[in-house]
Amino acid sequence: MQNEAIDRESGIYTHLHRFAAAIAIGLSLCATGCLQHVAKQSAAFSASLAPVVGQSAAAYRGAVALHDRRTDYEAVVAYENKDASYNPRDTPVLLTEKDIQSRLAVLAALQVYSKSLVEITQGTSSPELDAASKSVGSNLTSLGNDLAPSIENVLGIDAAAKSGSTATAAPLLSTEVRNGISTGFNALGQLLVNRVVANELPGKIVEMDPHVQALCKALSDDIAILEDLEEHDYNRILNLEKQFILKDEKPGSNADPRQLRAEIMKLPEIARQQREANEKLAALRAAIANLALTHHTLAAEAQHNNPDSLKDKLSELSGAGSNLGKFYSSLPAD
């Protein structure tokens, strides 16, 4: 049942929207009783969570759209070469919807986790927040168990293995990494479901650190691969665009001069998109690295069990979690 829910295209969104709504309700209920600074942090979280996920989705879909655009260019080459083996139905998809949802779930989990830690230390959990955490935790656990799409199918290795095919699919997550993520999901999920009490927290933070590091590394490696693929995709699009333009400029081609100018003007625009996409992915990777580092520092503080410095580090971690969202914005789709 849960797996079916996760398979739904909007499953994670629905879930996260529900979670954000629950946070908002919780906030309104405790507005008079809760400490003001906690309410402020939670409000910032509830406001930032949904857009972050939306923007992250846009970033991943942007990469998919770029790769699709490259395959469109490859189709022209195939037809110009009269390549009978070309079949548009065989073109691989860079990331399936399920792949995207898995990545969004990792990001959302890290954010929920970093914010939940703050809530637990302040002892301000409301029934709604508790219910929402359990819901997030359960879904994470089942998603972790379900996060094992056949890499061969996702990558379309068979199709790409065909000599001469230049349409590639993204190297995604290895079995080892998938298992690491699955374990991390389970650990995060259980922590959220069980809602540990404040005095257990230092130990739990230390326990969670390897999982957080593994999740951040998986995300970071994944983004590094996407950066490489995007660079190759943009190079290929620019190179083919240049070839098509030069062909159209040849005497006797009778190309419409206005259409030709429009094609030429696409080149700098594509190069600008490439630059922007590079900057965004690099910034995102930096944000994830910062989150991992902040958690690691927090875990070190937790071992010393100094309540004051622990609170400071928790606050930093919460900030690092929020910052993830700032770097997720839509990559150019075309």
């Binding site: 000599s163 095919s165 230049t166 590639t168 190179n239 240049k242």
Partner: protein, 117 residues
């Protein structure tokens, strides 16, 4: 004694990957610096195949399964065959290439390190 080339080391060694990456970059630099259609068509045909060697090596590193192994092996053979043809093509119209020597050297290095079939 067999004259058959040795089977390539898979996954590719760091030096081999670097050689293919260098070749990819040199091809890109040449494409960026020319308005000669013949040069662009020649490089546009084989640069993506060089890219696929690197990509399929990544795939093999990630999945380490038989399908990925065979895909990479097949790709190496196909790409290297093409690189030999490209080499001859460059020599035939070398005056069109501003970076002919660089690209030829990069092709030779890749073929030396990973001869393929």
């Amino acid at each position: 004694m067999s004259n058959l080339p040795a089977a390539p080391q898979i996954p590719l060694g760091a030096d081999v990957r670097a050689a293919y990456q260098d070749l990819y970059d040199k091809m890109q630099a040449q494409i960026d610096r020319t308005m000669d259609l013949a040069v662009i068509e020649a490089l546009n045909t084989w640069q993506p195949q060089v890219e696929l060697v690197l990509t399929k090596d990544d795939l093999y590193r990630l999945s380490a399964d038989t399908a990925a192994f065979e895909a990479l092996q097949k790709q190496i053979n196909y790409t290297n065959e093409g690189l030999r043809a490209l080499r001859a093509q460059i020599l035939a119209i070398a005056s069109h290439f501003t970076m002919a020597a660089d690209i030829l050297a990069a092709i030779d290095e890749a073929l030396k390190l990973l001869p393929g079939a």
